[in-house]
Amino acid sequence: MDNSHFFVTGDPMIYGADVSIILVSLAIIIYLTYFKKWGWLWREWITTVDHKKIGIMYLLSSLLMLFRGGVDAVLMRIQLAVPNSHFLASEHYNEIFTTHGTIMILFMAMPFMFALFNMVVPLQIGARDVAYPFLNAVSFWLFFLGAMLLNISFVIGGSPNAGWLSYAPLSENDFSPGPGQNFWIWGIQISGIGSLMTGINFVVTILKMRTPTMRLRDMPLFSWSVLASSIAILGVFPIFTATLAMLTIDRLLGGHFFTMTGGGNPMMWVNLIWMWGHPEVYIVVLPAFGVFSEIVATFSKKRIFGYASMVFSMIAISIVSYYTWVHHFFTMGAGANVNIVFAICTMIIAIPTGVKVFNWLFTMYRGRIRITQPMLWFMAFVPCFLVGGATGVMLAAAPADYQYHNSYFLIAHFHQVLIGGVVFGYLAGMYYWFPKIFGIKLNERLGKWAFWTWQIGFYVCFMPQYALGFMGMTRRMYTYNSTMGWDMGWAPLNMISTVGAFLMGIGFIFQVWQILYSIKHGERDVTGDAWDGRTLEWSIPSPPPVYNFAILPVVKGRDAWWYQKQEMQKGSYQKEAVKYEPIHMPNNSGIPFLMAVCFFIAGFGFTFEWWWMGIAGLIGVFITLFARSFQYNTDHFISVEEIERTENALRNHGSIHRTAN
C-alpha cells in the first residue's frame, strides 16, 4: 500500500482541524498536569468498573460524537445549499457523508443508548452493578478507542468514502485503495465487539441481577426495552463481526468474498450487512420506546396503559426485525415472491409500534399531565414518528420502492425515524435521568430554547427533502445544475433544508450551554426523587452511592416506588429495622483500558497494513486476557461501618427521610 500520504494534506479545513486537535490536546495535558489530575483521571475514571461512571463516559463521548457527526451534516448541507457548488471537493464530500452516517449510528446512537443502559438499568431493577462490571469497562473502552480510530482518519491516512455501509465492490481494494476503508472496518469492528459484550452483559443483568422480589412481569418497561434490544444485539452483532472479517480478508489477504472477479458476490455483502443493519435500527429505537414509557407514566401520574401489550410489542419488534433486511434493496432482483415476504414483514412492524403509540396516548388520557422537558420531547416524538412510520410503510411497498429507492425521500424518511424516534427519545431520557445521575436538574429556559430550535430546524430541514426525492434528487449527489426561468429546480428546497440544518445545530449549542450552565447554576436535587417518579431508581439518593442500594429493595408489584410512597403517605408503611450487611463489590482495574489500547494498536497496524504492528497489538490483547485470567483478587467488601457513614451523610443532607431503606 502507498503510505506516502500518512498525514492528510492539501485542504485548509483539515489544517484547521490539525491545529485545533493539537491545541485541544495540549490544553487537556496542561490542565491535567497543572492541577495534578492524572492520578484522579486514572483512579476515578479510566480504571472504573462502576456502571454509573461508565454511563457518564458513554454519555460524554456520544455528545462529542453528536457534535462531530453534526459538523459533517452541516458541511454537507452547505455543499448542497446552492447549485454547482464546490464548497467541498467531491472526494471530501464523499468522505463526509460516509463518516456522518457511521458516526451517527455507531458512535452517537449506540453509546448514547449504552449510556442510558448503564445509568438506569441496575438502579431500576434494584441491582448493585451489572452482571459483569469488568466486561462492562472492556465494552466501553473498545467502543471509545474504536471511535477514536475512525475519527483520526480525517487527519491521518484519509477518511473512508464508500458510504456508511461501504457497499462492495466499491469498498474493495480495486475501487477504494488506501487506509480510509480500513479505518472504517477496524473502527467499527473493535467497537462492535464491545457492543456484543454489552448485549450479553445486560441480558444476564436483567435476567439474574434483579432484586429477588422483582418478577419479570413487574419490571419497569425501560428495562424490558433494554432486554428486547440486547436480545436483538445478540442475534445480529455476530453477523456484523463476521461480515467485517470477510471484507478484511478481501482487502488484506486478497480474498474474493465480495469482489467482481474471482467468483465473488458483491450482493452477498449487501445482504449480510443489512442482516445486521436493519435490526440495528430497531436495536437503537427500542430503548427510546422504553424511555418514553417511563416518562409518560411519570408525567401523567398514571400506571402505563397496557403494560403486557407494551412488552409483547417490544419482543415482537425485536423478532420481526430479523426478517426485513431485503427491503433495503428490493431492486436486487430477488423476485416478486421474496420481495413480498420482506415487504409484508416490514409493514407488520408498524403494528406493534402503533400499539405502543396508542398505549402512550391512552396513558396520557385523563392523566394529570405535567409538561416538563422530557415530556416535551415525547410530545414532539409522537407526530414526528407517526409521519416517519407512515413514509416507512410507503417505502415498504416493494413496487413503489423501485421509484423511491435511494432518493431523498428515503433520506427524509430515515432521518425522521432516527432523529424523531431515537434522538428525541435519548434526549428525553437524558433530561429525565440527568438529576438522578448528577443530582442536577437541567435548566428549563435554555432547554425550551433548545427544544424549539431543534423542532423547527428538524421540519425545515427534512420536509423539503421528501419533495426533493419526488423531484428525482438522489442521495449522495455531490452537486446539481441550476435551471433557468420559472422552474428553479432543486435549489430553493435545498436552501431551505440547509437553513433547517443550521437551526438544529443551534439547538445543539443551546443544549451544550444548558448543560454547562446547569452544572454551575442549575437547581440541585436533594430529594433523590426529582420528578415524583414511580420506579426504584427514584428511591435512592441522587447521585446514588457506589453500591446503589444499601439494602436490596422489596418490590410488591409494578411501579414499586410509587406504591411505597402511597403507603408511606397513608402511614400504613411498615418501616423495617435497618440492618446493613457487607456489600460485595468489584475492584477497579486498568486492564480493560490497556486491552482496548492494544486493540487500537492492532487496528491501526492493520489499517496501514503494517503487519508487525497489527500482530503486536493482537499479542497485547492476549497478554491482557491472560493477565486478567491470572488475577484472583478481583473484588472486595464494603464494610457495614462504611455503609452507615455513607448513608447517614447522604440522607441527612436533604429531605430524603421519605425513603424506605
Binding site: A131, M246, L253, G254, G263, H584, F630
Partner: protein, 201 residues
C-alpha cells in the same frame, strides 16, 4: 483471598449473586453468538461453494487428512470430558493429565490443519485463487483459530490449577473451557459434513 470470597458468597447468598453461575450463563450466551458467527461463515461458504473459477474444487480435498483431523478432535473432546470427570472426583492429578492430553491432541489437530493449508497453497490453491477457496479458508481457519485460542486458554488454566488446586473458581474455569471445546467439536462436525463430505461426494 478471592477463594474465600467466592465461598463466602455462595454460602451466604443474602441477595448476593452466585458469581460463578453468572459467568457460566454468560458464557453459554457467548457460545450462542459464536454459533451465529460460524453460521455467517457457513452461509458465505454455501453461496460461494461452486465459485471455483476452474481451480481447486471441493472434490479435491485430501480425504485421509480430514478424517484423521476429525478423529483427533473427537478424541480430544472425549479426553476433555474425562478431565471434567476427574475434576468432579476431586482428582487434581487426573484433571491436569487429561487436560494436557486434550491440548496436545488439539495442537496435533491444528498442526494437521496448518499442513493441509500449506499443501493447498503449494498447489496454487491460495485464499486469493477463487471465491470458493476464500470462503473455505475463512470458515475452516476461523475454527482453527478458535481451537488455537482454546489451547492457550487451557495452558493458562493448567498453571492456575497447579497453583491453586480445584476451587469453585478453577472448577468454573475448567467447565467453561471444556464447554468451549465441545462446542468447537460440534462446529467441526458441521464443517466435516458440509465442507468435506458433501464436497468429496
Amino acid at each position: 483471598m478471592s477463594q474465600t470470597i467466592s465461598a463466602h458468597v455462595s454460602d451466604q447468598n443474602h441477595g448476593h449473586v452466585d458469581q460463578e453461575g453468572l459467568k457460566t450463563l454468560g458464557f453459554w450466551i457467548f457460545l450462542v453468538t459464536d454459533c451465529l458467527l460460524f453460521a455467517t461463515f457457513f452461509a458465505a461458504y454455501a453461496v460461494l461453494r461452486t465459485h471455483t473459477e476452474g481451480g481447486f474444487s471441493a472434490k479435491d480435498f485430501n480425504v485421509p487428512n480430514f478424517i484423521i483431523e476429525t478423529f483427533i478432535l473427537l478424541t480430544s473432546s472425549f479426553t476433555s470430558g474425562l478431565a471434567v470427570l476427574s475434576m468432579h472426583k476431586g482428582n487434581k492429578k487426573g484433571l491436569i493429565r487429561w487436560l494436557i492430553i486434550t491440548l496436545l491432541l488439539g495442537a496435533a489437530f491444528v498442526g494437521l490443519e496448518v499442513k493441509e493449508f500449506a499443501d493447498l497453497a503449494a498447489e496454487g490453491a491460495t485464499i486469493s485463487r477463487s471465491a470458493f477457496l476464500t470462503s473455505f479458508f475463512a470458515l475452516v481457519g476461523t475454527h482453527g483459530a478458535h481451537v488455537t485460542f482454546g489451547i492457550f486458554w487451557m495452558i493458562g488454566i493448567l498453571f492456575q490449577l497447579s497453583k491453586r488446586g480445584i476451587t469453585p473458581v478453577t472448577t468454573r474455569k475448567v467447565s467453561l473451557v471444556s464447554l468451549y471445546w465441545h462446542f468447537l467439536d460440534a462446529v467441526w462436525i458441521f464443517i466435516l459434513t458440509v465442507v468435506y463430505l458433501m464436497g468429496v461426494m
